[in-house]
């Protein structure tokens, strides 16, 4: 392995061990297995909300993806792009939009209690139904056009096209998509922190934070953290079986010409499905924009938080790309996968807990807070950066390796003259995707943030906590705009290489 790869691997391992070791040591010394009813309640709720969120998201996503796959209409592209927004929208911004629409005194007049399982499910479905629809749509668009032509030639009607052509294509990916959604919901932090209704509606990730921040009970945090690691580890290893599963947004191919779904009833059905999907995605986004515009003024906290957010996101993105690049070489695919998987399966709250415990014994975390947030955000963004870079590095390698070897181009010269120019686009994409993850993160900043060290998400959280909803909306709008710019860049970079 090259020195860069060794360094990246060592850095990731060190960060993970430094996070896990203190948690395990304290847990063991203070009686780890205090399996009290609270622990079981938290585990049960974590799994229940994740399972329900996954099932609802996928059940909604299949007809949505199918309607998008078979209908052509003006604005279709906008809907597909809109479905990317929840993925990029910082959780806290979306939550504010959801509260504005569904909360007490909201657009729907507080039709039901948002704080608890219902609110968590609404938020998770808002995030994950569009993501699932997008993943399923990308599967549907890989079906060779000949299959639809054959179906048309043989006279398949809509249900037969689904059963014989679409379902066989969707089915193999469904377990992977479901596992990914389940994993995201299991590790969900901001949604449960803000919409969870106390001990009855708390997940492991939030319970760890509460045990540390409010109860200062490291033993309980340890037990919770280890259960969280075990669950995420099992899920991530299971998800790893499904190759081709993309974190983030898979590029879409050129839309297929379809011969089914042309009957008036099919068109009406698909239109209703798409309208329903817009009813899920659009209102919270519109709510953020409208309330944000109404309350937009230059708050004295806004500019510093914005600069801090941009600085942290930029640094974390660069760090994530620097770690991902050397690991992306195909020869080290297994190690690279394991390293990024490590960063993925160890929940951020657990890593932060370990670092917090470790550093609080020696000096304190305040001075190092920015470094810790950058490091944690970089680790969280690593799977995304690696997911973009690894295939591009492999492809560039297959094109250039022999030629470079023959010409004796190696080391920094190869990086400067060959790899960097060839991989400029995926590298930018990796940086932007890592930046999106970091920009919207609430986990690291909640654990390490202070009165003077505030990012946009933590400022929104603080403003919501003190019921300054107008200011929270304005801050959310600013954050959403940054996310929108970044996701637009991602979209254009991701689709430029598509086969025409």
């Amino acid at each position: 392995m090259k020195p860069g790869g060794i360094f990246a691997l060592a850095a990731i391992l060190l960060a993970v061990i430094a996070g896990l070791a203190p948690v395990v040591v304290i847990g063991l010394s203070e009686g780890l297995m205090r399996a009290d009813p609270y622990l079981f309640r938290v585990i049960r709720f974590t799994l229940l909300q994740a399972a329900l969120s996954t099932i609802i998201s996928i059940l909604l996503a299949i007809p949505i993806a199918r309607a998008l796959a078979r209908q052509r209409f003006p604005g279709r592209f906008l809907i597909v792009r809109l479905f990317m927004l929840p993925l990029a929208l910082p959780a806290i911004v979306a939550i504010l939009g959801i509260v504005t629409v569904y909360g007490a005194g909201g657009w729907l007049g507080g039709a039901f209690d948002l704080y608890g399982l219902a609110g968590i499910l609404i938020a998770h479905v808002f995030f994950n139904a569009p993501l699932s629809a997008r993943l399923i749509l990308s599967r549907l668009e890989t079906i060779p056009p000949e299959s639809f032509r054959l179906g048309a030639n043989l006279g398949f009607h809509g249900a037969q096209v689904f059963r014989l052509i679409e379902w066989p294509q969707i089915r193999p990916a469904l377990a992977g998509i479901a596992t990914l959604i389940f994993l995201l919901c299991t590790a969900s932090f901001a949604v449960v922190l803000t919409l969870g209704g106390g001990p009855q509606a708390t997940t492991l990730e939030v319970a760890i934070y509460q045990a540390l921040r409010f109860d200062f009970d490291p033993a309980r945090a340890t037990a919770l953290a280890l259960v969280q690691v075990a669950i995420c580890c099992a899920l991530a290893l299971y998800a790893g079986r499904f190759t081709g599963l993309t974190l983030g947004a898979p590029p879409l191919r050129r839309t297929q010409i379809r011969y089914d779904g042309t009957a008036p009833l099919s068109r009406i059905g698909d239109a209703l499905i798409l309208l329903a999907s817009l009813a899920i995605v659009l209102p919270p986004i519109v709510a953020v924009v409208m309330s944000g515009m109404a309350g937009l003024r230059l708050d004295r906290d806004l500019i510093p938080a914005m600069l801090t957010s941009l600085g942290l996101a930029g640094s974390a993105a660069i760090l994530a790309a620097c770690l991902a690049w050397p690991l992306a070489a195909p020869r080290f695919a297994t190690l690279g996968n394991l390293a990024t998987l490590g960063a993925y399966i160890i929940p951020p709250a657990v890593l932060a807990t370990g670092w917090f415990i470790l550093l609080s014994r020696y000096s304190g975390t305040n001075a190092l807070a920015p470094v810790l947030v950058i490091a944690l955000n970089a680790l969280m963004a690593l799977p995304f950066a690696y997911g973009v870079l690894a295939p591009a590095v492999a492809e560039a390698g297959s094109r250039h390796d022999r030629l470079c070897a023959g010409l004796g181009i190696a080391g920094f010269n190869r990086f400067r003259l060959i790899d960097l120019p060839a991989l400029k686009r995926p590298l930018t994409l990796a940086l932007v995707m890592a930046g999106i993850v970091s920009l919207g993160d609430l986990t690291a900043i909640t654990l390490f943030g202070t009165q003077d060290f505030v990012t946009l998400p933590s400022l929104i959280y603080r403003q919501m906590g003190s019921y300054r909803m107008e200011q929270a909306a304005a801050t959310s709008l600013v954050l959403a705009l940054f996310a929108f710019v970044l996701i637009t860049v991602t979209e254009s970079l991701g689709t430029r290489d598509d086969p025409a």
Binding site: P144, E146, S147, R149, L150, G151, A152, N153, L154, G155, F156, H157, Q160, L164, I165, P168, I257, Y259
Partner: protein
């Protein structure tokens, strides 16, 4: 009979216009440079693409607004002719019933077609378990049970080796002869056209420049585009 009258089609910035008359029971090879519009021509006949203007008549019937499944056409592509999760028998049976509900007589027809295509022993295999040539046989067997008078082959055997390709052409030639099928075969291989087809249609930049007997196509040098396309091919043989 296949009749295309000034069939106009726009593909990106390329304008195509096809006029063609093919007698019932003919075997026509469609050839020409890449991107000339050969596959588009077949797609228009099969109903996968819709012309901007002009008319297509198949067996004297105007095909305007006739959906692909109601056209008297079976089509075989280069790839993706089978459904990978269904066994070969079911893949063939789909040619009779898209819902796979077959009576006794229809089942017998499927069995017979599979035997004719040389797939009798492979009925319960999945497409992933057989060779590329056998997969194309499945498509031919399905075309047999569909019993449509026109067979369109869109580079159907292009990915097969010379010997297998020859086997497939023999099979198609037999069907053409025994069942009186009209065959339009897109192919880049002059050998295939010369071996199987009675006529060759030459497509160039979205136009059919010539439809002539195979021997004349390979020997005459009166059309510069055809001469350029063939080079010294026919002279070398």
């Amino acid at each position: 009979m296949i009749r295309l009258e000034r069939v106009r089609f726009l593909y990106e910035d390329m304008e195509m216009e096809f006029s063609l008359d093919v007698e019932r029971g003919s075997f026509v090879a469609v050839t020409g440079p890449s991107g000339a519009g050969k596959s588009t021509l077949l797609a228009l006949i099969a109903g996968f693409e819709t012309q901007v203007s002009g008319s297509i008549h198949l067996d004297t019937r105007d095909m305007a607004d006739v959906p692909p499944e109601q056209r008297p056409v079976s089509m075989i592509f280069q790839d993706h002719n089978t459904f990978s999760h269904l066994d070969l028998w079911k893949n063939v049976a789909l040619g009779i019933s898209p819902g796979l509900r077959l009576d006794k007589t229809q089942r017998a027809r499927v069995d017979e077609a599979m035997s004719l295509a040389g797939l009798g022993e492979l009925k319960h295999r999945l497409p992933g378990e057989i060779s590329g040539g056998e997969r194309q046989r499945v498509a031919i067997a399905r075309a047999l049970v569909r019993d449509r008078p026109i067979l369109l082959l869109d580079e159907a055997f292009a990915s097969l080796g010379p010997a297998l390709r020859r086997d497939m052409l023999d099979l198609v030639k037999t069907l053409h002869k025994d069942r009186g099928l009209t065959v339009l075969m897109v192919s880049h291989q002059p050998e295939d056209a010369r071996y199987a087809a009675g006529q060759v249609a030459f497509v160039h930049q979205g136009r059919i420049l010539a439809l002539r007997p195979t021997l004349k196509f390979f020997t005459a040098r009166d059309i510069p585009e055809i001469a350029d396309y063939l080079g010294d091919w026919s002279a070398a043989r």
